[in-house]
Assembly symmetry: C3
Homo-oligomer: 127 residues x 3
């Protein structure tokens, strides 16, 4: 799945795209690994309420500030993005039955960009 | 698996329940996905020592304070719970062999409630 | 897979060892669960640039300080290590095809020791 982000830090709801992959899978029941191959993005599952997504970004930005005396920034100016991504994790695993994800009522699969805007890729592996 | 939490923030050791699911599974060897379908709870693997569980709650509460100027709280009063849950993750994956989880000596599977008391559900998917 | 750490806090790149396990697996396509059975270590996927790894350790150490009034430390002197490990997670799941991990260009599998030096073990379960 290809994604295009438009800001440095941004959250995209990718639930519908993952659901489409699961609908066309061979197995009716199993798990879907939703995996980002990037090192400055994260994938989490939570509610996609607009205000909450801003709160989430603000909280992570407070914990790991954009600017600090990061050693990595002598090479590349994005240590904060790598560390934020490491804290949240680059993948989630979701169970499915009858080709439907067993997401809870409020759960959405969220792709978090920490070093955009960029073109990004997400791998959905179904077992 | 159904759970009942009795405080706003609380940790339950659910290892025994997960073990029972693995014992009655079709596959002898594989992985168990332990998945919470909620957006204000987390699942982690760590030691279940009482003092440590309190330390864990205190540390997360310091990182993500209960009250702050969260935008989400204009709708619902639990942004802190969503953000804490996102930081820790809503699921763990554990390998098993001969229908026994390959947990380390001190490892326990911990369900963390951040917006209780509530009735909660945990999905155990075995592959 | 056995590992030996040499400092209290240290990051080891274990990508090559995981790749070897995947090369000799029965399945050509699937997922690899890379799982630490310890409660004071973490496994994350990110870039293995030396400066960045130091930044990551510094950031986690700032978020969860080594010394604080941890209750667990009345028993054992490593509450910080348990909490840091809980934040980052004890396992990652990586997809593979044709016996090759689908890691992104900069992605490496990183084992993080928070209470070394010790002998450690990592389980690679392939499905």
């Amino acid at each position: 799945m290809m994604l295009k982000t438009s800001k440095r830090v941004e959250i995209l709801d990718i639930t519908n795209q993952v659901e489409k992959e699961v609908e066309k899978a061979n197995s009716k029941d199993g798990i879907a690994l939703v995996y980002s191959p990037h090192t400055t993005t994260a994938i989490v599952i939570n509610e996609a309420e607009r205000g909450l997504l801003e709160d989430l970004i603000n909280s992570i930005s407070n914990l790991i500030p954009e600017k600090s005396n990061y050693i990595h920034n002598r090479i590349d100016d994005n240590a904060d993005a790598h560390i934020r991504a490491s804290l949240l994790g680059n993948a989630v695993v979701v169970p499915f039955e009858n080709r439907r994800l067993l997401l809870g009522t409020w759960q959405r699969i969220l792709f978090i960009e920490f070093d955009g805007p960029r073109n990004r890729r997400v791998i959905v592996k179904i077992l």
